[in-house]
Assembly symmetry: C2
Homo-oligomer: 121 residues x 2
DNA sequence: CTAAAATAATACCCTCAAGTAGTATTTGAA
DNA sequence: TTCAAATACTACTTGAGGGTATTATTTTAG
């Protein structure tokens, strides 16, 4: 969609392109629309359109909308309880990574992705 | 083990400490010993000892030994085929992360981890 | 010789997240 | 008022990874 961000896309079409199940797509799209990235138009001749400029859609926001960004900020070692005063052995070593990850996903927007030389989704 | 790297540790003991299954522990330990990090001593009064200084054991090597480092260098999006000339949309955005990850795991050694203020494993 | 240790190989189980499927409802242009 | 679209909710399937279990073998101090 980001290739031609002003078009209207109907679910049917997207499902064919992405080769995923109808219901699954709709679930995701609904999530995204609730998050305000796209606008969903119901009724006949409905579909999905971007609701804001793709330059204003940060990757972290998308992740948050569909699965929760927190997941990726958790521990490498998979511990539940985690704080600076109850650290695991990796704590200090891992911190810079977390920073970098957060930074990457927070700074990059949809517009930063390279949709031109790409033939897989 | 890295807390007192010169001791001999028997499987029985480690199993109790880590609360994981006997067989599982042994599998891991055997992997590690094959990789040359620890030496396994068979027979009665046997056990496991470090075979090299913990300052010479890089995290990436450990991961390689037990599950394969490559796993973590793959794509964010989970595509199989991936190369610079068949990139996915995230390719350029993701590269720095991969670098950082590789760097972290390659540079840090067991000795860099903080075993002092830690009470969970 | 024997007991206590590690090794080996293989099959099994369990859980969880990703994805599918079913079915009924609402919306709105023509 | 009809029809094609999106929504909502719930149940199901599936696959992979992390971990267990079994059983049999080998090693070595005492
Ligand atoms: S203390 Fe740090 S490294 Fe350890 S589990 Fe928590 S966040 Fe992860
Ligand atoms: S092209 Fe880059 S971002 Fe895309 S799947 Fe391959 S490694 Fe990952």
């Amino acid at each position: 969609m980001a290739k031609a961000p002003d078009e209207l896309y109907r679910a049917r079409f997207l499902v064919e392109q992405l080769k995923i199940s109808d219901k699954y797509l709709r679930r995701l799209m609904t999530d995204l629309s609730k998050a305000g990235f796209i606008r969903s138009i119901q009724g006949r001749d409905g579909g999905y359109v971007f609701a804001k400029s793709i330059a204003n859609i940060h990757l972290s926001e998308i992740v948050d909308a569909v699965e929760g960004m927190d997941k990726y900020l958790g521990c490498v070692l998979g511990f539940e309880e985690c704080s600076d005063d109850n650290p695991c052995v990796m704590h200090s070593a891992w911190l810079p990574m977390r920073e970098k990850l957060l930074e990457t996903f927070s700074n990059k927007t949809l517009a930063d992705l390279d949709f031109e030389h790409v033939n897989k989704y």
